[in-house]
């Protein structure tokens, strides 16, 4: 800002408008909006891909596509949902809400913030371009290894693998930049009087996520770089013939990959308690216990990675270690569940859409966690590994625990962000349609998984036909329900009943002290926390 003598409303005219506003913006709310919009678009793209998969699985046999294309859809679906839908959604909320919640005027490093976002669209293009190139006879399509990049398949694969490797590099740089920004903001920009232990839970969730990202994303970047040099420059990191070891890739990948699943959820664990307290109209239960549990989970997350490949062959002591340490994660997780439920206990609860999503989230995410415990059992995992049981498990954690959590956040903060109330009736419809079709999609997958149906295979034995048909029909219902979500959002952005500053009767926290929508520059005067 060039001058301090002009009031802020007048300084606005410095900002470019139209497309240039978005390309050059360093405003945390603009950037947050871009992250959230990008996330929603990619959520639909990734969803469309998986409907292709469910259409193929509607019946046994091969109807619509060859196995290689099927594998491409599986891999790109997962990469998009994880890196381009869930992570940007969480980052979008961070940009929008962290400065508001801690009473800061903006993020600490606004220009870095802008770069962080603008790396995302190119990487989404890199991920999906090989599909288009293949139509023109260039290359043989997108990455077909699943999201895990396992060699030797990823060393033998076509150009889709190279595209995915570069996409992961960009996505990695983007999320490390975003994380650094969040860490710096949280440490240096809090309002006077807001000690760390007075930070909102969402800020805590993100702080730990950001540390995990800075520590583990570079390991993924290193691992895929080794893949790249194995593919093109004659190294043998993972090539057994040259003295390398493909299992080592699994260690490197999951050293990142397991923390990644908590990276996706910690921000959600942050704001769900805030939603619960708002709609229970009483303070969050066990703030300290929750903070310590988040830290415990963050710390344990980096020491349990090998539970993803128990069956790859490991000495028994290693199996036991990874089994017990994995199961140990459920202890702090149980503390969190207890606090969430206790927060609602005897509250005067109402069930607006955000609360519906939050309560549904507790139940569904709980199922995800419990089935994880089943998989953490080495003896059981020998049977369930690479089966549809695993697929169902991680969709309860990632679709219910991740995406539906994010949806709770969207409904919770949308009135604050837009200044308009969303359509409550449609929001409730969206919740029930989503919750019911989600369960109908994935409960059958537990059953076929227990009965031995393998994942990542486009065909299956006849005895799985009925369950797969149910799952496919429900998946289409689930997909279509999300169009309602998009409609509710657009409708709310366009207009609606004006939202008050506080929006929700029981809302607590600095973001609710500002007008809805908040002014372009939020806290021109920093609030003081007592």
């Amino acid at each position: 800002m060039s001058t301090t003598t002009v009031a802020h409303d007048e300084v606005h005219h410095d900002h470019p408008s139209g497309i240039m506003r978005w390309l050059t913006t360093t405003n945390h709310k603009d950037i947050g909006t871009m992250y959230l919009t990008f996330s929603l678009v990619m959520f639909l793209v990734g969803g469309a891909m998986v409907l292709g998969i469910r259409a193929e699985l509607f019946q046994p046999g091969l109807q619509l596509m060859n196995p290689d294309f099927y594998n491409q859809l599986i891999g790109v679906h997962a990469l998009i949902m994880i890196f381009a839908a869930l992570m940007p959604a969480a980052t979008g909320f961070a940009n929008w809400m962290i400065p508001l919640q801690i009473g800061a005027p903006d993020m600490a490093l606004p220009r870095l913030n802008n770069w962080g976002f603008w790396l995302l669209p190119p990487s989404a293009i890199l991920l999906t371009l090989p599909f288009t190139l293949a139509l023109f006879g260039i290359g043989d399509g997108a990455i077909a290894t699943g999201w895990t990049f396992y060699p030797p398949l990823s060393v033998q694969g076509g150009i889709g693998v190279d595209f995915a490797i570069f996409a992961v590099h960009l996505l990695g740089v983007s999320s490390v930049m975003g994380s650094i920004n969040i860490i710096v903001t949280l440490f240096n920009m809090r309002a006077p009087g807001m000690t760390l232990m007075k930070m909102p839970m969402f800020a805590w969730g993100w702080l730990i996520t950001a540390f995990l990202l800075v520590a583990t994303i570079p390991v993924l970047a290193g691992a895929v770089t080794m893949l790249l040099t194995d593919r093109h420059f004659g190294t043998h990191f993972f090539d057994a013939a040259g003295g390398g070891d493909p299992i080592m890739f699994q260690h490197l990948f999951w050293f990142f990959g397991h923390p990644e699943v908590y990276i996706l959820l910690l921000p959600v664990w942050g704001f769900i308690p805030q939603i619960l307290q708002t709609f229970s109209r009483k303070p969050m239960y066990g703030y300290k216990a929750q903070v310590y549990s988040l830290w415990a989970i963050g710390a344990l997350a980096v020491v349990v990675w090998a539970h993803h490949f128990f069956t790859a062959g490991m000495p028994v002591p290693a199996l036991l270690y990874f089994m017990y340490s994995t199961m140990a994660i459920s202890l702090p997780l149980a503390v969190l569940f207890f606090c969430w439920i206790k927060t609602m206990w005897k509250g005067s609860m109402t069930f607006e859409t955000p609360m519906l999503f939050a309560v549904g989230w507790i139940i569904l995410f709980g199922i995800g966690g419990l089935t994880g415990l089943v998989l953490a059992d080495v003896a059981a995992d020998a049977q369930y590994h690479n089966s549809y049981f695993v697929v169902a498990h991680f969709h309860y954690t990632l679709f219910a625990g991740g995406i539906m959590g994010i949806m709770a956040g969207v409904y919770y903060w949308l009135p604050k962000m837009t200044g308009n109330m969303y359509d409550e009736t449609l929001g409730k419809w969206h919740f029930w349609l989503t919750a019911i079709s989600f369960n109908l999609t994935f409960i059958p997958q537990f059953f076929v998984g227990l009965a031995g149906m393998p994942r990542r295979i486009p065909d299956y034995a006849l005895q799985f036909a009925e369950f797969n048909m149910i799952s496919s029909i429900a998946a289409f219902a689930l997909g279509l329900s999300q169009l309602l979500f998009v409609y509710v959002i657009i409708k709310c952005v366009k207009g609606g009943k004006k939202a008050t500053d506080k929006v929700w009767e029981g809302a607590e926290g600095l973001e609710w002290t500002l007008p809805s929508p908040p002014p372009y520059h939020s806290f021109t005067e920093q609030p003081v926390i007592k």
Binding site: A7, N188, A215, I217, A221, G222, A240, L252, P315
Partner: protein, 190 residues
């Protein structure tokens, strides 16, 4: 009210102080990220060392051992099973001449493997061993092995290849059976 610049309001820090504090912390974080990238590459040699000590990945010694006189432990019998695999791209047949042998720890034994080139060209292959359970791999000691070097076969040629090895008597008591598997990879210079 006196309008304030964004960051001026961050009392007691001035805007410049805050910016330099931000840049400093950001730089520290970049170092952490760089450190974990380095860590990823450092994991490669670490992994190899760990595996050669613990046998985590089932690899055996890949150079001939100079013979030391090991005491033969006649009180134990160890069964070693052999399996073989030919990796895609290698036009060979390859199999062990015996499915398994039983031997006392410390006793040197010779077993034979046979490879045949079924293509019309000279083909070079490299055998990669792996022992299950992994813990046993550090106790299976090779004196001589066709896997120490590349093997070259002329078109149609058949070669019988020896493996001389012994089991280290220090093998943990609860292991009485192990499997030695060889995968032959294509290694022709292109």
């Amino acid at each position: 009210m006196e309008p304030l610049d964004n960051t001026d309001s961050l009392k007691p820090k001035t805007k410049a102080e805050l910016e330099s504090a931000n840049a400093k912390l950001a730089k520290k974080m970049v170092w952490v990220a760089a450190g974990s990238l380095l860590f990823a590459f450092a994991l490669v040699p670490l992994y190899d060392v760990l595996c050669s000590i613990t046998g985590l990945n089932g690899k055996t010694n890949n150079e001939a051992l100079t013979l030391t006189k090991a005491k033969v432990d006649t009180s134990r019998n160890i069964t070693v099973q052999f399996t073989s695999a030919v990796m895609p791209g290698l036009g060979w047949n390859f199999y062990p001449k015996q499915a398994s042998i039983t031997l006392h720890p410390g006793k040197i034994e010779t077993v034979l493997f046979e490879a045949k080139n079924i293509t019309g060209q000279v083909v070079v292959g490299q055998a990669i061993p792996s022992v299950t359970p992994g813990i046993a791999s550090v106790y299976l000691k090779k004196v001589e092995c066709f896997c120490f070097v590349n093997q070259s076969l002329k078109p149609g040629e058949t070669k019988v290849m020896p493996l001389r090895f012994f089991i280290d008597p220090a093998l943990p008591k609860d292991v009485s059976e192990m499997t030695l598997s060889y995968s032959f990879f294509e290694a022709t210079k292109k």
